[in-house]
Symmetry: D3
Subunit: 244 residues, 6 copies
């Protein structure tokens, strides 16, 4: 990472995040509502608290946290057909929904939540790469707001959110690991990895795919280290946003 001649299109350093922001209270009815931006990527993360849990959990004294994900048809440079009109949800959507749910459950004390479900709806308004990592990172803030709301109205004594969680992508372009790829970089990358990491620096999810250019064990280490840095920064910004 010392080769000084390398320049990203937006002049970022290899280990630098895009500008990140969290706009809380973006819509008014959801228990938590955050418009998260990772550069030009914009995801609306709404947290809904519902009484009750899915059938497989009923009567077990545990709560549930789940996610849903969708892109508006014109979030992207060319329009995509709506999944509702195509009548079926694609594999990519399912993958991301499941990932969001697992990531958030990793930091919630589900028993302390009680028999409630929190649904995190992540709808991409504008997509410039990293929509799933932005979704997880923004959903964590919306979730915090929703759980704090339960505390504020006396339904819970303290928030069951154990710690924060965030996610970031890392890729390899021209043999060099880069943090937080935008769409153009993602398109050019030989490897695309996503990491979900807790505030305390533990790994919740590691997903790497390198269909055309398999990578070495050492490169895995380098990417992991970049992700740990990136998520530490994201976590700080989540906290500042919640305190703001």
């Amino acid at each position: 990472m010392t080769e000084t001649s390398f320049v990203r299109a937006d002049a970022r350093l290899p280990n630098q995040l895009r500008p990140v922001s969290f706009l809380r209270g973006f819509t008014r009815y959801a228990e938590g509502s955050v418009l998260v931006s990772f550069g030009e990527t914009r995801v609306l993360c709404n947290a809904t608290v519902e009484e009750g849990v899915p059938p497989f959990l009923r009567g077990k004294g545990s709560g549930w946290v789940t996610g849903e994900y969708s892109m508006l048809p014109r979030a992207t440079q060319t329009r995509s057909a709506r999944e509702s009109l195509r009548g079926k949800v694609g594999g990519r959507t399912y993958e991301i929904q499941r990932l969001i749910g697992r990531s958030l459950r990793a930091v919630v004390d589900l028993e302390a939540l009680g028999e409630r479900t929190v649904v995190l709806d992540c709808d991409v308004l504008q997509a410039d790469g990293g929509t799933r990592t932005a979704a997880i990172t923004g959903a964590c803030v919306a979730l915090a707001d929703a759980l704090n709301g339960l505390v504020a109205k006396g339904s819970l004594a303290k928030s069951p959110l154990r710690e924060g969680v965030s996610a970031i992508s890392v890729g390899i372009i021209d043999g060099r690991p880069l943090l937080d790829l935008d769409y153009q970089e993602d398109f050019s990358a030989a490897v695309d990895m996503n990491f979900v990491i807790t505030e305390s620096g533990l790994l919740v999810e590691v997903q790497g795919t390198a269909e055309e250019h398999p990578f070495t064990p050492q490169q895995l280490d380098e990417m992991r280290d970049l992700a740990l840095l990136g998520c530490r920064d994201l976590n700080l910004m989540q906290k500042q946003s919640l305190e703001g």
Copy 2:
């Protein structure tokens, strides 16, 4: 309309619109992108220009304009399931989509458009009554931007938009016609009508439904007159926005 004691929850006059705004360029990839607000109702209207037309029009030298409509799950006070996950689109959605398409086609010279399709994606971010009227009114601005864009890049000599079009709801509460119902008013109204009216004051669509309290021919006249007023105002605001 002279009974002075009547008060709407937000102190509006019976013939007064809610605050209306058009935020152009809300997303960056669509050829036209408008976030329209009718009070607390927020609809993102994205216009996409695609080359080609649906099969039934091919080779006829005519363009096409169509609409799609969806609500985010938590646009409403309680969460609704996604139509994509339920695997089918409900009747209400189809009704509104068809209405949006017909309303916009009424003011476009489809032959002058050439063999192109403009898709108007209307996604409700927040719903407080009147989502379909806000969608049509905002979509008209997005459409104007998209068509002006075709002129700007030289694809068309002039915009095929013949005039503006807007839509408004009218209802009857306690026997009194009221303009632009919010969710709470809509819920209490005996009659719910939607009018789509061109800039030149012609009627494109009239839809009234009064399941529980059928209304008199005279009340139809009163509602029509309110709608003509409301749409005249909306049309002015559309123009101001486009000039802004």
Copy 3:
């Protein structure tokens, strides 16, 4: 309407209905079964009484009336694919089903009906324009028979049908309003409106669409007046049929 030279293909006056008939008891199992004809349009309207109500009404002491609509594949001049085989029901079908249900509920005392559901199946055997208006008008007769049947067997003290309801189309051809369009006229009309009107002359539904030729407020008045006349005639014929 004073221009004497105008002639409709079947020599009807502008304000004249096509020949209308109601054939009661067309099938033997339904609680009400009416084959209604509006000219060459034939719709079989079967009323089914079922104990119980949909989930959203359970335990509220109210009944329900709903409609379903379908066209046989070869009701039309060219064959259409079955919606069952295409695996989904089109937007037009949903629109009409919802319209039938609302129209009939407008004239039924749902509380007096008790926790029962009446389903009105409207299946078009032959289509020559005006299938939805014929369906509503015929379904009202089938509904009357079904509710009278509940009285006859002692389940109800009196019929919860408050009054009759009927429906008619009106359109504008060559600038002239015409009542009860057949398929050929519907195809040529600049405006197509459907009115649902109670026996006492109140409006239940008003639906007008004028994609290519928006119309003036005065034309709306003329069409409304024609529809009021037409529905008054239909209502007399419904009564004669039920007395016959």
Copy 4:
């Protein structure tokens, strides 16, 4: 069959058909349109001639004949849900549709038909047992009319219908074979067989099912003989109808 004390509910002999009628020209647009009655069972059989053939036959110089089958929701004593709304077609419907298609193709010279498709839509208006046999028997008459229509307008030199085909059910009740079961008999029968037989007495389809009371080879012979008699009678009635 000599036990004199046995009486069918409608006093028919064991080898006697219910009253059968064919009402040709029942609807006006289809190329052939027959309302067939087997007792209280009523099936509307509409034949549509379309140019072209399914993909697997294109360019092979052969035509195609296919069938579709559906029951109106209230054809039966209690209402059934529409397959279009349930979003899928049941196994029974598929079985019957395939049976109708195979049965009619057995008597048509598909090469002489040329690259045309005849669709036989069989919609049950009222069901009292034997709907599939009535459908096949009525569809043959509708098909004859449609093919004669092609001859009449000069598209074909002679009808490609080689001979008639009809279908009948046979069952065993109290050990006794009975022809043409009505719904009540069908419900009580130990065995339910359907035979499709050509005018020249050849077997096209034999379908017997005896889930609860398997039957002997000799009983198969007795049922086959009853069916041969029944179809001979049906074929005569088909011919009389077409000559009438």
Copy 5:
């Protein structure tokens, strides 16, 4: 069957089965698991015993036996698309599933089974004609194992399987009836019949189809006689397998 010059591709006699085998215990979790071979046709028949019955049987003290059928995509010479990915199950699959269920129920004392369901999953690993007959014949062995298992663990005093059941195809090639057609023969056959026959020689199902070459009543007799022979042999092999 005396014409000595006729030779089948594998030199079988007209009344000779292909080599048949039953491999019990093919998988380890199912209550009965049999890989049945009819020549090169291989079907894995797994029997699952579940507590409870479908809704229509609840509380009636009767059990249920049902079948499901599928082909692996590459069971055949050219690959077929998966029904799961096409999103719907074809008519042929439904037909065969229903046939398997009826065939097995014919030989089970459902009341003695108690409120249990046995599901017979028949998955074709390799298809060379006769997959449905192999499935029924193999499923009977898997069912026997599953029911014997209930006896072995004391849930039932004796097996509710009243007798064996098997199935075989018969066809007519060049006017000659042949037993147990392989794929190539099936393709060439003018008639294709399937018989399901109990150990005691009674007929449970008879299904014959002869779209292109209807057959005589005498040919039906000949095919039935071949099938009785074939099923007698299959039944002996089923017994040997269960004793082995």
Copy 6:
């Protein structure tokens, strides 16, 4: 890994694979057909070579390799419903299918393959953990056979398979990394990772999920090292099988 008291249920060492076998030629029609076993997990991997490529690749001179995955209903200890009958494919299935396709494409020279598609159908006959890793590992052998077949019949000069690829799971139980988890271990594991690794030791896919017990960066290293060992062994067995 030095704590001597730890014992796996089957007495394996922490870094030991279950018994692995490849049964080539398991079915006769597929161009490659391998029954792979990882302990009690059995997956049938069939490779089909089809001329042509999906639409997005047409005319680009490149081939395609894709995977499909399914479990037989009774592959597992309790029966699961068929995805074909539920009418939709679950998210887990989509995830695995996409993983299989990407993994195999990573080792094929798609341009050298030419405009052909190889479909790898992986159907799980028996599931005891690790079905996706067994599927990838077995599919690689089936793919090798199918590509060698193209060479054998002269369609290709040499096989476009650049090197082998295999996959293995690693988990953490009681803080200890273990290779190749069976179902019981998988159920107990705090972390579940899957690695896909080429013959040359490069990483193609890394997927780790730790919903309940996030793990440290060091544990990621330990798991990666175990996986590198396991895949090296698997690759040797793949080669022996192909030479056998």
